[in-house]
Symmetry: C2
Subunit: 428 residues, 2 copies
C-alpha cells in the first residue's frame, strides 16, 4: 500500500487485537480478534466450494441466527480447520463460546474464521489460552489493526489492508478492510479471508446487498491459480458509531457508501493478486465485444487461468498465440478472423492475422508490474436504438445485424518457478 | 518404450520418410511423410478449439472430399501455421499439392499437419525444397518410421511410438502409431498429433467409429496443463495390405481390431503425459462412486488440472486436502462426509475425517514414476437387479436408495519448476 494507516482512517466503535498463540511453527502471530463495542450490522459471503471448513459452516449459521447483529470476528491462521470432522466443528464452536465469555455476548454473535493447512486437527487449547489477553488488549488504533493484518497471513509476503471514507450529509463515514490470500485463489462467489469494518449505520439486509455486489466485481474477478479455497469468507461489520445512517430511502447516500465499500474491496482484491504466490506481475485480462457478459467472463477467466498464458507472462513473452488458443478452448463460439489482441497497448493481432510489431519493445513493456491485455472478439457496439446509419447512400438497405458488445475483466498474475517451489514444499 | 521396433511391427503397404528442411533453428529434423502405396481407408479426429490452424481446416475438408480414401500424411514441426491468415491456408494447400505431385495423387488425398509456435508465417518454400527427396527416400522400415517419430517432436524430450498386432482368421494385422506432444495438452475431442497406420482392410466409416471410441478413452483422458491445442489431430490410415478384412459383419474381428487400436492409442497417450513438459511423474486420478459418468469425469479433470494438486505431486507431498478442495470446486454436488481418498494405495481420508498414516511412507510412495490416486464419493455400487438384501431381518423393509456408481480416470503429470522454465523461455 502506498499510504500509511492513521487513526483518522479507523472506523469508530471497533477494537482490534492479535497474538502468537503457537499454531504457526514459526512463532509468528496467528490469532486475531475484531470486536464491535455494540452489536454491529453484519454481512458476509462464503466459499461456494462443496467442501467447506467447519468455521465457514458455523459462521454461516451464526450470521443467520443472530439476525446479522454481530459482536466479533475471531480468526486463526496456521490451520484451516477443514476436513477435520466433528472435532473440527466442536473446536470452532468452543472458540465462539470462549470469545462470547470474554466479551459478554452470545456465541452466535461471533464469526469464526480459520486459514492454513487442510486436514490437520486444530489445537484449540492454544486459542483458548490466548483469548483472555486478546480481549483485554483490544484497541481502536492503527497499530492494533496492523497487528490483525499480520496475524491472518499464511503464504502472504505482505499484509494487506485498504481504507476509504466518504462524506454523507457533511459527516464522515470510514471503511477499513484487511485480507489474506496468496494461493488457492479463484473466488467465484466469495473469496479467501477479508474483513471490513465501517462506522456507518446500515441495516444488515442493505449491507449484505452492497457487499454482494462489491464482491462480484472485485474479489470474484481475481485468480491466482484457479483453485477456490474451502475457507473463503468476506465479512463486514458496521458499528453505526459515525452516526451516519445509510438507508434505501436515501439512494444517494447508499451509492456513496457502496462506492466506498467497493473501492476497499477492489484495493484488497488487487493486492491479493499482486501478492499471488511467486508472482512478479499482475495482468488485467479484458475481453470486449462479446455476445454476452457471461461469454466475456468465461473467455477472460479461461485466458487468466491458462498455465501457458501465465508462464508467458512470467517470461514477459508477447506470445499472443497462447492467448488466442486459450480463448478458443473456453467453450464460447467466436470468429477468430474478427479477433483483435492488444498486449500492454501494442496491437499484435487483428482480423485473423498477426501484425508486425517490435518484439523487444513488447517484451520491455511486459516486464512492468501491471500489464493490460485486451482481447476483442469483434462484436460491434450496439447502435443507438432507432438511429439510422448515415451516408453511403444505403439508407433503407438491410443493415448488418446489430451485435451487442459486452465486456469483462479478470485480474491474474504470472506463473513462476517460485509458485511451484512454494507449493511443492508447503508441507513436506 | 520398453521394446524395440522391428520390421515385423511395420504394417504392410506404407512407406515413411523424414528430413531437416530448416524450419527448426536447431537444424533438427522437422518434416515427415507417411505414404500409403495405394489409397488407404482414413479416419481422423481434430481439435475442438474454436481457433484451429490452417492445416486442420484443410485436412478436415480433404478427408471429407476424398471420401476418406487417403494416400499420405505430411507433417512439419517448428511452426504450427495457426493464426497466419490467408497466407497460412495457402501454404497448407500448396503443401498438399506438392505432395500430390510427388506421389501422383490428388491434393485431397493428403492430410497436412503442422506443430510448433503459433502466429509465425510458415516458410513453405523450405518444405517444397525438401519434398522431392522425401518422396524418393520413403521406405517401409523401422529406421524410416523412427525418423518420422523424431521429425514431429517440438518440446518433446523423447520420440513416442507404440505398436500392436492381432490375429484374425489366422492372419496377422499390425497397427503402428506415433505421436508428439508435451505442452498445451488437454484434449477433449482429439489431441496433439498422433498418426497410426495399419494394414487391416477396413471401411472408412467403421475405422472412424473405432478411432473415435479409442480416442475418447485414451487421448481425451490425459492432461498436461489444461490447455487444448489449436492443431490437435489424430489420423489413422488403413492400407488393407494384410489381406485381413474387418467389417461390421464380423463383430469378433472388429472387437479384436478395436482393442488393438485402443491399446496403441493408450500407450501413445500415456507416453505423452510421461513426457509432459517438466514432468517427473504420472498420476492416474480415478474417481469412483459418482452419480453419473459425467460427474466422475468432471471431478477427475478438475483434480487433474489443479495447480495445487500438481505442485503437491511435484513435491511427492501426501497433501490430500488439496485434492478434496479441488473436487469441491468442480461444480458437482457431493457429501464430503462420505468421501474416501487413497494416495498410492494408502487410505488417508474417510467419512469426512483424516486418517492416521505414516507421512514418510506416503512421501516415499509418491516419489514413484507412476502414482494412483483414488477419490471415492461414497456412492454405493448398484445392487444386482431383482436381488434382495439378505439377513438382518429387514426383508420387506424399505431399502436404502440404490445409488449407481460411476467412475472415470484421468491421467495427469506433476507441475514442476521446469514446466515454468520451458514455457517462460519458449520464444524470448
Amino acid at each position: 500500500m502506498n499510504f500509511r494507516l492513521t487513526s483518522r482512517s479507523i472506523p469508530r466503535g471497533f477494537r482490534f487485537a492479535s497474538a502468537a498463540c503457537g499454531l504457526k511453527r514459526s512463532g509468528r502471530p496467528d490469532l486475531a480478534l475484531l470486536v464491535s463495542d455494540a452489536p454491529a450490522s453484519a454481512a458476509a459471503v462464503f466459499t461456494t466450494n462443496q467442501v467447506e471448513a467447519a468455521p465457514v459452516t458455523l459462521s454461516r449459521r451464526h450470521v443467520r441466527r443472530a439476525a446479522a447483529r454481530m459482536r466479533a470476528i475471531v480468526v486463526n491462521s496456521g490451520n484451516a480447520n477443514c476436513a477435520t470432522g466433528a472435532e473440527g466443528m466442536a473446536a470452532s464452536l468452543e472458540t465462539a463460546r470462549a470469545v462470547g465469555r470474554e466479551l459478554g455476548c452470545r456465541p452466535e454473535e461471533v464469526i469464526v474464521c480459520s486459514t492454513g493447512v487442510i486436514g490437520v486437527p486444530l489445537r484449540v487449547e492454544k486459542v483458548f489460552a490466548a483469548l483472555p489477553a486478546l480481549g483485554q488488549n483490544a484497541r481502536n488504533s492503527p497499530a492494533a489493526f496492523s497487528g490483525v493484518t499480520r496475524a491472518i497471513m499464511t503464504t502472504d509476503t505482505r499484509s494487506k489492508w485498504a481504507a476509504a471514507s466518504c462524506r454523507i450529509g457533511g459527516r464522515r463515514v470510514r471503511i477499513l478492510g484487511c485480507a489474506k490470500g496468496a494461493g488457492m485463489i479463484a473466488p467465484r462467489m466469495a473469496t479467501m479471508l477479508a474483513f471490513l469494518v465501517t462506522d456507518a449505520a446500515i441495516a444488515p439486509a442493505l449491507l449484505q446487498r452492497a457487499l454482494r455486489e462489491a464482491v462480484s466485481r472485485t474479489f470474484n474477478c481475481i485468480t491466482v491459480d484457479g483453485d477456490t479455497s474451502t475457507n473463503d469468507t468476506v465479512a463486514v461489520l458496521a458499528s453505526g458509531a459515525s452516526g451516519v445512517r445509510i438507508s434505501s430511502h436515501s439512494p444517494l447516500a447508499t451509492n456513496h457508501f457502496s462506492a466506498a465499500l467497493e473501492s476497499v474491496c477492489r484495493k484488497l482484491a488487487l493486492v491479493i493478486v499482486r501478492d499471488g504466490e511467486g508472482a512478479q506481475r499482475v495482468a488485467e485480462i479484458e475481453v470486449r465485444g462479446a455476445p454476452s457478459a457471461r461469454a466475456a467472463d468465461t473467455i477472460a477467466r479461461t485466458i487468466a487461468n491458462s498455465p501457458l498464458v501465465k508462464t508467458a507472462l512470467a517470461g514477459a513473452d508477447p506470445n499472443w498465440g497462447r492467448i488466442l488458443a486459450a480463448a478458443g478452448r473456453a467453450g464460447v463460439p467466436f470468429d477468430p478472423a474478427r479477433v483483435e489482441i492488444r498486449l500492454a497497448g501494442i496491437r499484435v493481432f487483428a482480423r485473423g492475422k498477426p501484425l508486425e510489431f517490435d518484439e523487444r519493445r513488447a517484451h520491455r513493456r511486459l516486464l512492468a508490474p501491471f500489464v493490460k491485455i485486451v482481447f476483442h472478439l469483434g462484436g460491434k457496439v450496439e447502435k443507438g436504438k432507432g438511429k439510422r446509419e448515415k451516408g453511403k447512400g444505403k439508407i433503407g438497405a438491410s443493415h448488418s445485424p446489430l451485435v451487442a458488445s459486452h465486456s469483462a475483466s479478470i485480474w491474474t498474475c504470472d506463473f513462476t518457478g517460485d509458485y511451484v517451489r512454494i507449493n511443492a514444499d508447503y508441507r513436506t
